[in-house]
Symmetry: C2
Subunit: 259 residues, 2 copies
């Protein structure tokens, strides 16, 4: 049975896609067959693993709408043991369209039944969410076992955390009781900037061990990698960004074994 | 008659709020009485001008729902000649709630009738949008005369531009025919990072003079200012960030006079 993790934060630009793509790659490299689901209409995760727009005919929109099977929506990527359910163009209209559907928050969870039942080879499923708490993110939170929260080391990002935690609690109470917090990962940490230290200290003060020891540094190679259609692990393996995501994967695997 | 400008981009974290808050402050400092409308449930623009959550009883949600008048929703800020319509907590449910309303895309435009009719002292209205192309951003695009697009100098942000332009074109064709492009402003430009140069060259290649000459540099003082509840112009007037937003205001005022 795979572990299904929603990578979510309604604050924009905090490193959700970068974390989903590179953590998925690092988990696959560690031998855990991984599925990445792109649930953001921007389609950045699909771009981040090098999939052209022309190759995104079936994906997460078709799954939500129930117009395709899971097998048709998932495809292999250039990264060994990493599979992708891409985001197709119609996903941008889904938030409004899905409002009328019965059990609209359960559409993704239902479509992932074969995965949840252990009928596929996946050990991990990561869902990249859009920057909002609308129906797409709700679908991810209902389909997931846990939530991984990238937290950019900036003030606005810290301010938004309480809103996200309230939403997770609401989902736990009304839609998905076993939903847990996988952890909080500090991203774009800049040693030269006091603010990063302040935000990190604040987050650890409130969330303690739920914040990973591994911190992702701000690293130019990370932001260059998507323009080459590659996770940073493939673009520049030795970069501080790649090494941080490899350590993050190791920490997540270690914590899971400990439970 | 004021100029109503939507500050929009569905890509997250590109500097929408930072641009809306600091450009509004610079326009007010230049003698143009300005209104800032916070249409993002995160409420970052309200925080950015120093308004406590307790003081956000009436604002953009009440305007959309039609439960308050414009006069009750707008309040002065600590910045002379800068007024704010804050984002209240219920705004986070508005995207789903508004779907059922008749003329759901025109709710903001209708509530701003007194402003549009020149019955208020405002010369400029800036609307800070959330990172999505849902009903809140659509309301802003329908209420606005023009759209100001902050473009972060990163690859994912550039990729998202065509989706935004398509949406603006759809709104122009079906909902708000005179909607124009105010301009594209390059944000978080980092001289040490090749990627910034590449993105800037690409954007100017495609959009030409629609990209402002003024470029906003990545500047730590800009990201520190919100934790002090102040626009960067008040937090550190001499910083490169403040000076860039002052130049941007001057360029916008100059371009408007030229038309
Ligand atoms: N550690 C890092 N160092 C440098 N740049 C980074 C890092 N992590 C992410 N970035 C860059 O910052 C920008 C925002 O990251 P990303 O797009 O992953 O965030 P997001 O939360 O997925 O955004 P959105 O809210 O739009 O979905 C991207 O251009 C990305 O390349
Ligand atoms: N020129 C700059 N230099 C340094 N930091 C900046 C700059 N502009 C914005 N920032 C910081 O980058 C982060 C993202 O900016 P901001 O929140 O304004 O983007 P946004 O597009 O409004 O995000 P969202 O999509 O969540 O609404 C913030 O923490 C902000 O303080
Ligand atoms: Mg993303
Ligand atoms: Mg914002």
């Amino acid at each position: 049975q795979p572990r299904i993790i929603a990578v979510a934060n309604q604050k924009g630009g905090v490193g959700k896609t970068t974390t989903a793509v590179n953590l998925a790659t690092a988990l696959a490299a560690a031998g855990a067959t991984t599925l990445l689901i792109d649930l953001d209409p921007q389609g950045n995760a699909s771009t981040g693993v090098g999939l052209a727009w022309a190759a995104r005919a079936e994906g997460s929109y078709s799954l939500l709408a129930g117009s395709t099977s899971f097998d048709a929506a998932a495809q292999p990527t250039a990264v060994p043991d990493l599979w992708l359910v891409p985001a197709e163009t119609p996903l941008s209209g889904a938030e409004v369209e899905l409002v009328e559907f019965p059990r609209r928050e359960f559409l993704l969870r239902t479509s992932l039944e074969p995965v949840r039942a252990g009928l596929t080879a996946f050990s991990y499923v990561l869902i990249d969410c859009p920057p909002s708490l609308g129906l797409l993110t709700l679908n991810a939170l209902v389909a997931a076992d846990t939530v991984l929260v990238p937290l950019q080391c900036e003030f606005f990002a810290l301010e938004g955390l309480s809103q996200l935690m309230r939403t997770i609690e609401l989902v736990r109470r009304h839609l998905n009781p076993p939903l847990g917090l996988e952890g909080i990962v500090l991203t774009m940490f800049d040693r030269r900037n006091n603010l990063s230290e302040l935000v990190a200290a604040d987050a650890r003060g409130v969330f303690g061990r739920q914040v990973y020891d591994t911190v992702i540094p701000r690293n130019i190679r990370v932001s260059e990698a998507p323009s080459h259609g590659k996770p940073v692990l493939l673009y520049d393996f030795r970069s501080p960004g790649s090494q941080a995501y490899i350590r993050l994967a190791a920490e997540i695997l270690k914590r899971e074994r400990a439970h």
